[in-house]
């Protein structure tokens, strides 16, 4: 149990109070009729380049990322830096494919990836597979955002002792989040993202300048890191070793990222394809910051917080995720610790809000409207989404309070493997209608099942040691199973097409994919 840090707590609570007000006030920002689903759930598709930059950045670079990536550097070393090539590779993808998806979704009023797949392929079961994958992959992701809040609240020393009271600050934060998301929709995280990102940038730049200065420079810091952690291990004979794992983790994570429902929600809320393309050049600022934050793991090693007695309880409770909070407590005055922790805590609320909105959009559009009530009024549809966003957040809260954190982390790992299986239908679907919908569905199922089995076989670690003709290729399971998925879909497409009479269904036209 940490001791309460007075100044840190005051700054933290004040900033939380401010964003609570902002979240509710956001309902009046660029005012729209919040009884329409695209107004509540996509902010009316009205965000320009600037707001989109904050919104997409605040959405993709989550609080959990800011805690977990340095924690991985602290524990495992160089491999944590895969987050950097990962976030380099995503932007060409964003630049090339997503403006097309934005245009077709704008033209047909689609608000989810499953909407698009339904329109493109006309197969409600394929659309259902996309929907369920999106929902299942998003839920543990929301739960992990709560872990980010838990860690900073624990480090502030305000989590009560034992039982439900231990989680009281977390519950309060989530009730606030649920309330402003319900009332303001996507406008709430969009406005809060601006505050959060300013705080995060201040924290990251200060930390990466001040802490190395305190510790006597980068050479001293890297000298304190065990040599085997500083670089990737050079692969031995007959294996691609750590290099293969590093590159496939980066590439596979990049393919998966924009398939997550919350990524697409943020992208579709942009007001033009231009705004998305411009952001592909501007969002790397966040990658740079993430890379700098990853270095904090090494700073934490050099500062020796892992063995300091005052942090022993924190590390015992939160594991390596406590490395960054401990480093801040060690290095900064109380008021700045409060600011940095608020950045992480608020940084959890932004993506959590967007994720719950994305999940609500998915359920409302692609399950409720497709299978239960086919002709809802606009108002009913928006109201349903608001309720679902509450249920989703409540579910995540219950999950994190009553289930060990390890399960959320494992499920999030599996979520990456699952969501990447929607790539052929969604991302390739943006370019071609060549694939047969049933072939895509079988590819999806095979990839999902094989990926889950491989992940379990490798003890729920992300990489699988694929052995071929005497060579071993340790690599990201998601990427391997995506290849299986694609091969199956491609091979089965001519087979299924032989049965089909007439031209395939397609509600979209070639011209819909451009301005």
């Amino acid at each position: 149990m940490q001791e309460v840090n007075g100044p840190a707590l005051i700054v933290f609570v004040a900033l939380f109070g401010f964003i609570t007000w902002l979240g509710f006030a956001a309902a009046r920002w660029r005012k729209g009729d919040l009884d329409l689903l695209h107004e509540w759930g996509l902010g009316g598709r009205r965000f320009g380049t600037f707001v989109s930059w904050f919104l997409i950045g605040g959405d993709l670079y989550t609080a959990y990322t800011f805690v977990a990536v340095p924690a991985l550097a602290f524990g495992a070393g160089a491999v944590a830096f895969f987050a950097v090539p990962y976030t380099i590779v995503i932007y060409p993808l964003l630049f090339l494919a997503f403006p097309r998806l934005w245009h077709v979704c704008h033209k047909h009023q689609y608000i989810t990836a499953a909407d698009f797949v339904r329109g493109r392929f006309g197969n409600r079961w394929l659309a259902l597979a996309i929907t369920i994958t999106g929902l299942v992959a998003t839920m543990p992701y929301i739960a992990l955002q709560l872990v980010g809040i838990q860690v900073v609240v624990g480090a502030l020393g305000i989590s009560g002792s034992g039982g439900l009271s231990a989680d009281l600050p977390l519950i309060i934060a989530f009730v606030i989040l649920a309330a402003f998301t319900y009332s303001s929709g996507l406008r709430a995280p969009a406005s809060i993202a601006i505050v959060k990102d300013v705080l995060i940038y201040i924290t990251a730049f200060t930390a990466v300048i001040v802490i190395p200065y305190q510790l006597g420079g980068f050479d001293k810091i890297f000298a304190a890191v065990p040599p085997q952690k500083v670089l990737l291990a050079v692969p031995g004979a007959n294996t691609t070793g750590a290099y293969g794992a590093y590159a496939t983790l980066a590439l596979g994570s990049a393919f998966a990222l924009f398939l997550y429902p919350h990524s697409l929600t943020a992208i579709l809320s942009a007001n033009s394809g231009h705004a998305i393309r411009r952001n592909a050049a501007m969002l790397p600022a966040y990658s740079l910051m993430l890379g700098m934050l990853a270095l904090l793991g090494f700073f934490a090693i050099a500062a020796g917080v892992g063995t300091a007695p005052e942090f022993a309880a924190g590390f015992k409770q939160f594991g390596n995720n406590f490395a960054v909070p401990a480093l801040f407590l060690h290095s900064f005055p109380g008021w700045f610790v409060g600011l940095a922790f608020a950045a992480i805590g608020i940084g959890a609320l932004v993506p959590a809000a967007i994720m719950s909105i994305a999940a609500a959009n998915l359920y409302t559009r692609n399950i409720h409207r497709e299978f239960i009530n086919k002709n809802p009024t606009d108002k009913q549809e928006a109201q349903m989404a608001k309720w679902v966003s509450l249920i989703v957040k409540f579910g995540a809260l219950v999950f994190i309070v009553f289930v060990p954190t390890k399960f959320a982390i494992d499920l999030q790992l599996l979520g990456g493997i699952w969501i990447i299986q929607t790539l052929p239908a969604v991302l390739l679907g943006v370019y071609t209608r060549w694939f047969n919908d049933w072939a895509l569905l079988i590819g999806w199922a095979a990839g999902t099942i094989a990926g889950t089995a491989m992940a379990i076989a490798s003890n729920l670690t992300p990489t699988f040691p694929l052995a071929l003709a005497g060579f071993t290729f340790p690599g990201y399971t998601a990427l391997y199973t995506l290849i299986l998925n694609l091969v199956l879909a491609a091979v089965l497409t001519p087979v299924f097409n032989a049965w089909r009479k007439g031209a395939p269904f397609d509600a979209t036209k070639h011209a819909d994919y451009f301005a």
Partner: protein, 68 residues
């Protein structure tokens, strides 16, 4: 539909810059080394951080070259 939109439908040679950007980022043997260090930081770290900036620059070039 005007000419600019028609042009954007197809392939642009400028997209090759993206291949450079990704290929370097995804080839660890290229940067998995200590020397040369910069401000005491091993090459592995500062090079990848620098490559983020280079990637952003290349993306900006493609943007201005293909957006008319």
């Amino acid at each position: 539909m005007n000419d600019a939109n028609t042009k954007r439908r197809g392939w642009s040679w400028w997209y090759l810059l993206f291949i450079i950007q990704c290929a370097v980022a995804l080839w660890p043997p290229f940067y998995n080394r200590l020397e040369p260090t910069w401000l005491g930081m091993p090459f592995f770290y500062w090079f990848q951080l620098l490559w983020v900036l280079v990637g952003a620059g290349l993306t900006a070039i493609v943007y201005f070259a293909t957006e008319t």
